[in-house]
Symmetry: C2
Subunit: 137 residues, 2 copies
DNA sequence: TTAATTAAAGATAAAAGGGTCTTTTATTCT
DNA sequence: AGAATAAAAGACCCTTTTATCTTTAATTAA
């Protein structure tokens, strides 16, 4: 449903939020999370463009959490990375799937979608954390 | 989570099951469901290879439901088309995501996965039906 | 003000998922 | 037997997603 790219974004922003006041470089984040460096670079750039995180270039630069970071919801991130459309897509890939023109599993999936939507809407970054294990990959 | 291809398979097998004792050609099914014909052809072939449906070649041939069709579970279909691996994949795309090494949303997602797993395990083809609407696409 | 550093941006490429087209094989009917 | 029909099989292509590599621009420190 949500893309791998969006998963990268969520894990990265959670990491940044766990290090308030600290600047982390792309290389650093990528290594800790096991994400391709240059690919992550674009993801972080997008998050920064939408003010979900901040960045400074140059020596001792990097990405860091700002005021909005901890209170950002997962929906905010999904919105930036995937677009909100992904949350309504039929799990069976039926192009036009709705209450009046449902796929064979519409009701079952709807329940699941609604649950996930609430999670994405309610959970903020500050409520999440990476694994306590050292292996963040 | 489950592929668009698997969605095609499920919708097609439900359609066949709704026409017991009747042979339907690929073209017919593809048109009714709005699925690319030749692509669907491969999907049906795979379902037939695993005996979830049957087929006969030649004039008046086509695909049709057999004894196992109505009692097949969604898991059976997912198994053939996507492989059961798709049901365990982390929604954030984290490569190694587990209880001991969880992604930031592991518990939330686990709940959703378990619910869907039960649906896929319990629902049989005969319990499903296509939209009553004429527009099956 | 120059060198070093790091994010930003852009160009390309690899991989995966879907989709199309053509040929082959089995079956049925004349 | 031959023609017609429909699934099976195979080759190929397109699009999207993910990944890599290179260049540019901003910032800092010496």
């Amino acid at each position: 449903m949500i893309s791998k790219t969006c998963g990268y974004a969520i894990r990265a922003i959670v990491l940044l939020n766990e290090h308030p006041g600290e600047k982390l470089g792309v290389v650093q984040i990528a290594e800790q999370l096991g994400i391709p460096q240059h690919f992550l670079s674009k993801v972080l750039k997008d998050l920064a463009k939408h003010q979900l995180i901040s960045s400074v270039k140059g020596p001792h630069g990097g990405y860091f959490s700002n005021q909005t970071t901890p209170n950002a919801s997962l929906i905010d991130i999904i919105h930036v990375i995937d677009g909100l459309g992904v949350l309504n897509k039929c799990f069976l890939g039926k192009d036009r799937c709705s209450q009046t023109n449902p796929c064979p599993l519409h009701n079952e999936f709807e329940k699941s979608r609604q649950y996930l939507f609430e999670v994405f809407r309610n959970r903020t970054i500050s409520q999440l954390n990476l694994s306590d294990a050292h292996n963040l990959i």
